[in-house]
Subunit: 363 residues, 2 copies
DNA sequence: CAGAAACTTGTTACCGTTAACAAACAGACC
DNA sequence: GGTCTGTTTGTTAACGGTAACAAGTTTCTG
């Protein structure tokens, strides 16, 4: 539709020695702000104002600019914007390079919330949750001008590295377990309480004590679950069986399960996560111990398919997507506070028991 | 360490009306190229040359510049580089917003390979694998100047949208199933062959025919598995049982399993993935059908824990991480070809049978 | 040893956007 | 009517790099 006559190009016609505006390297170029401005008969700054919703633009002018933008299919160049504003509208996620269920679910929660807030997320995974690799990941993200960082399910080494990172980027940690006095905001699952609930559930069913199939001892989450379990047993005056170090997967659970299945005194097992529980169930079955008739088993995480284990698993539910979303909101909040000295918020989410068929009263 | 005397600042001392170099908004600024140049006593262009490994820099000069960079802890600003070169060294991943095992494993494969190649990856997930959401995702990635895009496990709607995206970004697709004549490179699993191998394995064990617990019919991967299964039965002259639509999780598998368990003629089931198999196993067990004595079950994917199912699952192995790596290498290759008209490469990976305990000969 | 070729280095323009300032124009008030 | 605010718009200068060209050095030739 014809709007108004485009203003004449006000640039000086002749340039320096070399004149022709030769194209730079490769790639098709879309239209830029200047093109829109020319078509709408305004200055590029006015176009910028329209894009950024500045209040002082006449309604009629705004319409004209918007029309021009549409007709040219204009898209603002974020690199230029980033350069000018030092704000990239990109967030960095530091994750652990493996296929653990929790971290991945969080990623999606974070991403969709970030999208809603107008941010893109970039991921930097580390092969090992140690100081040096994390510093490198932060560095990589910082070079790409991320506005903030979320560290997923970190061990202390990670939060340490984050605090000491040279870049002054806002960070939040989600998952893991912490002192409660971390220098930046955290969103955490109350693993100790979760473990307490699980253990108490088993005690309430009449079991004399509860054994534990633990996760990796150097993961705070695993350690907190051990602590909660042990505390509950102490409080109940029950015997505290020994714990052996494990890992997060079914293979490790199977190893632990074989050990436990061999001991006829074992009637209840609290597993550090559902995958471990799967391995434990397998070992119990192979040993001829029936679940839940002979042994009760509780997991942790409530993975999507744990209701279809053999038998369906009683477990502690965690909403990882929700954790991710809350972490993001904390980060955005943190970012908007212009380096105020407000103390970091700490969100703690308590998991809940999901009763299924892997637990039963003792006879 | 003292190197050489810094050259005098060659800039004109007096500027226009306002003089003082007032700082812009927020955030701490690191040193920039000019600072390094001044400290090393060279021009900023020379610093640029050093960073970009240009050959024509005197060794002594290079050393001086590198020392200056180190002492200032210099980090190049990628936004500025992107603006000047139109190359961001960032790749975009389009994924499906859910917790499917395959896609996530691919993400890690891609990310680590991308890191090695000097790229950062940004993810854009879509809630639904349809035309419009995918276009939006592409748009978001394009705005952030990604250099290329990998679409994970797409349905035809995705590849279609990708082909019609207005941006001329290089794309590759990984996963899914395609015509073999897609307009861009693909890395795919040979689902049909995998299904054939699985089905043949069951036929070879003496089963009269093989039933199928299918995935979602609008996913090409699921469809290809149906096709491979059906073809094998035809070729063997076996009866082809009906197929009902499903989904990728254990709940859907359970539904299908209940139907199949009720039919005494069913002695062998090929499941579209391991999670479905888990549900099927559950349903069979509840119906009192023993696996593998009464019914043999085969899965697809070889998820990390499927060896601990009840019983350990015979399944088709896929290396998702490897798929991701190969997709990345295809993308980089594609990007380096200056819009040549070379036909797109298509990689096809054949999954292999992993024998475990869920299959047995008929008696 | 002169001239050419190759190697180094510096200068200037430009990538596309936002920030800061200035100017033009309107309405309000005395 | 003139000054005084406030709104709207334009002009110029960054932001921090790379590209293109020019110019000054060497080093190689014959």
């Amino acid at each position: 539709m014809p709007t108004s006559d485009p203003a004449p190009d006000t640039e000086p016609a002749a340039q320096m020695p070399f004149a022709a505006p030769r194209p730079r390297s490769g790639k098709v170029r879309g239209s830029v702000m200047r093109d829109v401005a020319k078509l709408a008969g305004v200055s590029h700054q006015t176009v910028s104002r329209v894009i950024n919703d500045h209040p002082n633009v006449r309604a009629e002018t705004r319409e004209r600019v918007l029309a021009a933008m549409r007709s040219l299919n204009y898209r603002r160049n974020l690199a230029a914007r980033t350069l000018a504003t030092r704000e990239s509208r990109t967030l960095g996620i530091i994750g652990f390079e493996t296929t653990l269920f929790g971290p991945e679910s969080m990623l999606y929660g974070i991403e969709s919330a970030a999208r809603a807030a107008g941010y893109l997320v970039s991921v930097a995974t580390v092969r090992e949750l140690a100081h040096q690799p994390v510093l490198e990941a932060v560095d990589r993200l910082a070079q790409h001008d991320v506005d903030g960082i979320i560290a997923i399910s970190p061990k202390p080494a990670v939060t340490n590295a984050l605090t000491h990172a040279p870049t002054g980027l806002p960070c939040v940690a989600v998952g893991g377990a912490g002192s409660g006095a971390d220098p930046f905001p955290t969103v955490r699952v109350d693993n100790a309480t979760g473990a307490r609930l699980a253990t108490q559930h088993l005690l309430d069913l009449g079991h004399a004590t509860v054994h534990h199939a633990a996760g990796p001892p150097d993961w705070p989450e695993a350690q907190a679950r051990v602590d909660g379990w042990r505390d509950t047993l102490y409080a109940a005056g029950a015997v505290v069986p020994p714990v052996t170090p494990g890992w997060w997967d079914a293979a490790a659970g199977y190893e632990q399960g074989r050990r436990l299945a061999a001991d006829p005194a074992v009637t209840a097992i609290f597993c550090a996560n559902d995958r471990i529980a799967l391995g434990v169930l397998r070992a119990l079955h192979e040993a001829g111990r029936r679940v839940p008739q002979d042994v009760s088993v509780v997991g942790f995480d409530d993975m999507p398919d744990s209701g279809y284990f053999h038998p369906p698993l009683t477990t502690m539910h965690q909403d990882f997507g929700e954790l991710g979303r809350r972490a993001l909101s904390l980060l955005l909040n943190h970012m908007s506070q212009v380096d105020g000295n407000t103390p970091p918020s700490h969100v703690l989410v308590v998991p809940e028991v999901i009763l299924r068929s892997s637990t039963a009263p003792t006879r």
